[in-house]
C-alpha cells in the first residue's frame, strides 16, 4: 500500500516537473518557425519604408495577381533603427522571410551570403531567363557593395548623391555652382560673411558628414581608394586620407554647418533647406520626393539646383564618377525560394520599376518600360545623370565593418561641430575597422 502511494507520488512529481518544463520550453520557443511558408509569400521591411510594401501591394492587385493567387503576399514591418540586429537574430533562427529588406551594413550581407542564407540572383536570373531587368549601373553598385561579382539583392531604390543648392541664395551672393573643392570653400566663406549658413547637414545622424569625407577621398585619391582601406592595403590614418577628413573638419571649425551642427537630425536638416535656411545641402536623390512636395518645399522646386560633388585639384577622381547607392535593397532567402516565390520574383523584376516610379515617384534600379508622362524638371535631370553616369562610387563606410560604420557615423557630427580633428576621426574609424 505504502509502496503504491510512494510510486503514485513519484509519478505525480515527475509529471509535474515534466509539465512545468514543457510549459517553460514552449514559452521560450515562441516565435520560432514563423519564417517561410509554401502557402504565403512573406515580406519583411522597415516601418519607416512604406514604398516597397506599397509597391508590392499594388503589384499583388494587378500585375502579380497570378503569383498572389498561388501564394498570397503577407507583408510585415518592424522598426528600422535596430534593423541589422533583428535581421541577424532572425537569420540565426533560420526565420527570415521569403523576401526582405537587406542588411543595412554590407558586411552583414556578406555574412548572410557566406552562410548561404541569401539567394544568388545572378544564377537564378540565368536559370529562369530574367536577365536584363536590372539597370547595369544599379547592378554594378550592388555587386561592388557586396563583393564577389554576383547579384544578391534587388535595387528597389537607386540614388545619386551630391550638393543640392538654393539657386536664389547663390544668385543673391554672386556665386556659381562650384566645380572644385576650393571654389566650394570660397563660396562658403562668402556666404558666411554675408550671414547665410553655407551648409545644412544632419550632424546628429553623422552619415551626411562622413559622405563628404568619402567623396573627397574618391575625388582626391581615386574611386578605389576606400577599397584599398577595406583590403588592408592602406590605412585611414595615412596622411593623404587624413587630408580628406581635415578638409571637412575645417568647414566645421569655420562654423559653416551652423551653430548646433551636432544636434540637427535628418528631418530638421531637410526642413531647414526647404525653408531657405541655408545654401548647400548634401543629400541623395531620394530627397526629390520631398523637393517635389509643395507642402514641404517652401522655396519652390524650380529654385533647387543640383551639382555633383566637386573635384579636388590634382586629384585622381573625376566629376562624372557619381556617388551612388541603392538605399536598402531587397533580398530573397535561399531557404524560402520555391516555384511560388519564383513566380513572384519574375513578376517583381518585370514590373517593380514602373509601379514604383508611377505610383510613388521612386527612382529604382529596375528597367522602366512605361515612364510617367510629365515629370518635374529636377527629377528628369537626376534621371539623365543616372543614365549618363559612366561609373559610380560607393560611400565612405560601404566597405567597412559594422563597428567601423557605427563609429564613423557616431563621430561624423563631431567633424561638423568642429569638436573633432580629421586625424582623431580617422584614427577612431581605422581602429574600429577590424
Amino acid at each position: 500500500m505504502i509502496t503504491a502511494r510512494g510510486h503514485r507520488r513519484r509519478n505525480l512529481s515527475i509529471v509535474a516537473a515534466v509539465g512545468v518544463g514543457v510549459i517553460a520550453l514552449t514559452g521560450c520557443a515562441g516565435g520560432g518557425g514563423g519564417g517561410s511558408s509554401t502557402k504565403e509569400f512573406t515580406y519583411l521591411g522597415q516601418t519607416q519604408n512604406t514604398a516597397i510594401s506599397g509597391t508590392l501591394d499594388v503589384l499583388a492587385k494587378d500585375k502579380c495577381a497570378a503569383a498572389e493567387k498561388a501564394a498570397p503576399l503577407k507583408a510585415d514591418a518592424i522598426d528600422g533603427t535596430t534593423w541589422d540586429q533583428q535581421l541577424q537574430l532572425l537569420a540565426g533562427q533560420d526565420a527570415l522571410s521569403d523576401m526582405s529588406m537587406a542588411g543595412g551594413t554590407p558586411s552583414l550581407m556578406q555574412e548572410f551570403i557566406d552562410s548561404g542564407k541569401v539567394l544568388n540572383l545572378s544564377e537564378t536570373f540565368k536559370k529562369e531567363g530574367l536577365e536584363g531587368r536590372v539597370l547595369p549601373a544599379a547592378e554594378s553598385t550592388i555587386k561592388a557593395l557586396y563583393g564577389g561579382g554576383d547579384l544578391y539583392a534587388l535595387p528597389t531604390e537607386f540614388n545619386i548623391e551630391g550638393f543640392w543648392y538654393n539657386k536664389q541664395i547663390l544668385a543673391d551672393n554672386g556665386i556659381e555652382a562650384p566645380a572644385t573643392w576650393d571654389e566650394l570653400v570660397d563660396a562658403a566663406a562668402t556666404l558666411q560673411a554675408n550671414d547665410v549658413q553655407p551648409f545644412i547637414a544632419a550632424g546628429k545622424d553623422g552619415w551626411p558628414i562622413t559622405r563628404l569625407v568619402g567623396d573627397y577621398i574618391a575625388r582626391d585619391l581615386g574611386p578605389d581608394a576606400l577599397k584599398k582601406v577595406a583590403d588592408g592595403d592602406a590605412s585611414l590614418t595615412d596622411p593623404e586620407y587624413v587630408a580628406a577628413a581635415d578638409a571637412v573638419a575645417e568647414l566645421g571649425t569655420a562654423g559653416y554647418f551652423g551653430a548646433a551642427a551636432g544636434s540637427i537630425d535628418y528631418n530638421t536638416a531637410l526642413n531647414q533647406f526647404l525653408t531657405g535656411g541655408g545654401a548647400f545641402f548634401y543629400m541623395g536623390s531620394w530627397a526629390l520626393a520631398a523637393f517635389n512636395d509643395q507642402e514641404q518645399n517652401k522655396i519652390g522646386v524650380d529654385n533647387i539646383g543640383f551639382t555633383p560633388f566637386p573635384t579636388v585639384e590634382g586629384g585622381k577622381g573625376t566629376i562624372d564618377q557619381v556617388p551612388a547607392n541603392v538605399g536598402i535593397p531587397v533580398m530573397f532567402t535561399e531557404k524560402g525560394y520555391d516555384d511560388d516565390v519564383a513566380q513572384w520574383l519574375d513578376c517583381v523584376t518585370a514590373n517593380y520599376g514602373d509601379v514604383a516610379l508611377n505610383e510613388f515617384g521612386q527612382v529604382t534600379g529596375f528597367v522602366v518600360n512605361n515612364p510617367p508622362a510629365d515629370q518635374p524638371a529636377l527629377t528628369q535631370e537626376v534621371q539623365n545623370i543616372i543614365a549618363e553616369a559612366p561609373s559610380s562610387v560607393l560611400w565612405f563606410e560601404a566597405a567597412f565593418s559594422p563597428e567601423a560604420t557605427a563609429v564613423s557615423q557616431k563621430n561624423g557630427g563631431g567633424l561638423a561641430a568642429g569638436t573633432l580633428t580629421g586625424e582623431a576621426f580617422m584614427k577612431l574609424v581605422q581602429d574600429a575597422n577590424k
Binding site: 512529481s13 533562427q93 555574412e111 551636432g262 544636434s263 531647414q272 563631431g414 569638436t419
Partner: protein
C-alpha cells in the same frame, strides 16, 4: 509541516518548478554568456574558439577603456550625489519639515515613477540647441550669454546626464535614507540635545553613526545601479557625441547586437560584472573597517 519540509521529494516538487524556470531564464544564459567569452562570431557566421583573445582585445581597445572610464566616473559622481542629496533631503524631512514633509516627499519622489524615456525627452527639450532653442538656452540668451550646444560637447552631455539621473532618483534615495533616519530612537537624540549637541554636531556625532548601515545599503544600491546605467544614456544621448558618453552596458549591447560580436560582447559583460563585484567588495570592506574603528 516539519515532516513535509523534511521530505526531500516534497522540497523538490515545491522548489523544482521555480528552480527550473529560474535556471532556464537566468542561469543558462549566464553560463552560456560565460562560454561565449572564449569564442568569436555570431549566430549567422558561426563560432570560433579564440581562447583569451577577447580579454586581450578588451584591455587594448581604446573605446572599451573609454567606456570603463565613463562608467566609473559616472558611477562615482552620481553615487556621491545621490547619497549626499538623498541624505540631506532625509534630514530635511525628519528634522526640519517633520510632520509636514509628506507633500515635499511626494513631490521629490514623483520623478522616480516617471518612465526614463519620458524624462530623457523632457531633458532633451530643456537643453535643446537646435532646431528650436530649449528653455535653458533661452534663459542663457536672456541674461546675455551665448547659446550652447549641450549635446554636441562631451563634458556638457556628461553633466546633463548626471543632472537628469540625479533629479530622477534623488527622491528614491531620500525615502530610503528617511526610513533609516526616522528609525533612530527619539530618546538618544533627546539625550544628545540635553548634553548640548545641536545642528551639525548632532548630525556628525549621533545621526550619522546611527544611520551608517542604511547609508551603506544606499551606497551599494546606488553604485551597482549607476555602474549598470543603460536606459537613461540611450534615451538622452545614445552614447554621443561620438562615444564620449558610452557606458560599458551600451558598448556591450552595441558589440553584441549591432556589430554581431557575441563573444566580445559577452567579455564586456563579464568585465562589467567583475567591476560591480570589486566595487561592492571594496565598499563592504571599507565600511567594515570603519565600523570596527568606531567600536573601539
Amino acid at each position: 509541516m516539519e515532516r513535509l519540509l523534511g521530505n526531500p521529494r516534497a522540497v523538490l516538487v515545491l522548489l523544482g518548478p521555480a528552480l527550473l524556470v529560474y535556471s532556464l531564464v537566468m542561469l543558462v544564459p549566464i553560463v552560456w554568456s560565460l562560454v561565449y567569452t572564449v569564442y568569436e562570431g555570431n549566430a549567422v557566421s558561426g563560432f570560433e574558439f579564440v581562447g583569451i583573445d577577447n580579454f586581450v582585445r578588451f584591455f587594448n581597445d581604446p573605446t572599451a577603456l573609454e567606456a570603463v572610464g565613463f562608467t566609473l566616473r559616472y558611477a562615482l559622481i552620481l553615487t556621491v550625489l545621490q547619497v549626499v542629496v538623498g541624505y540631506a533631503l532625509a534630514l530635511l524631512y525628519v528634522f526640519f519639515l517633520k510632520k509636514a514633509s509628506s507633500l515635499v516627499r511626494t513631490l521629490v519622489f514623483f520623478p522616480v515613477i516617471l518612465p526614463t524615456v519620458a524624462v530623457a525627452l523632457l531633458f532633451r527639450r530643456f537643453f535643446e540647441a537646435a532646431p528650436t532653442e530649449g528653455p535653458i538656452n533661452s534663459i542663457m540668451e536672456f541674461i546675455g550669454l551665448n547659446t550652447f550646444d549641450w549635446f554636441g560637447q562631451p563634458d556638457a552631455s556628461f553633466w546633463v546626464i548626471l543632472m537628469m539621473d540625479l533629479w530622477r532618483s534623488m527622491g528614491f534615495y531620500a525615502v530610503l535614507l528617511y526610513a533609516g533616519v526616522v528609525e533612530i530612537p527619539e530618546d538618544i537624540i533627546e539625550s544628545a540635545r540635553i548634553d548640548g549637541a545641536a545642528g551639525w554636531r548632532l548630525v556628525r556625532h549621533i545621526i550619522l553613526p546611527l544611520s551608517l548601515p542604511v547609508l551603506l545599503s544606499a551606497t551599494i544600491f546606488s553604485i551597482n545601479g549607476t555602474l549598470k546605467v543603460f536606459d537613461s544614456v540611450v534615451a538622452l544621448t545614445n552614447g554621443g557625441p561620438g562615444t564620449s558618453t558610452t557606458p560599458l552596458t551600451v558598448y556591450m549591447f552595441q558589440t553584441s547586437f549591432s556589430f554581431g560580436q557575441y563573444g566580445y560582447g559577452s567579455t564586456v559583460a563579464l568585465m562589467l560584472t567583475v567591476m560591480c563585484l570589486l566595487v561592492t567588495i571594496f565598499i563592504f570592506r571599507a565600511s567594515r573597517r570603519d565600523l570596527t574603528r568606531n567600536e573601539k
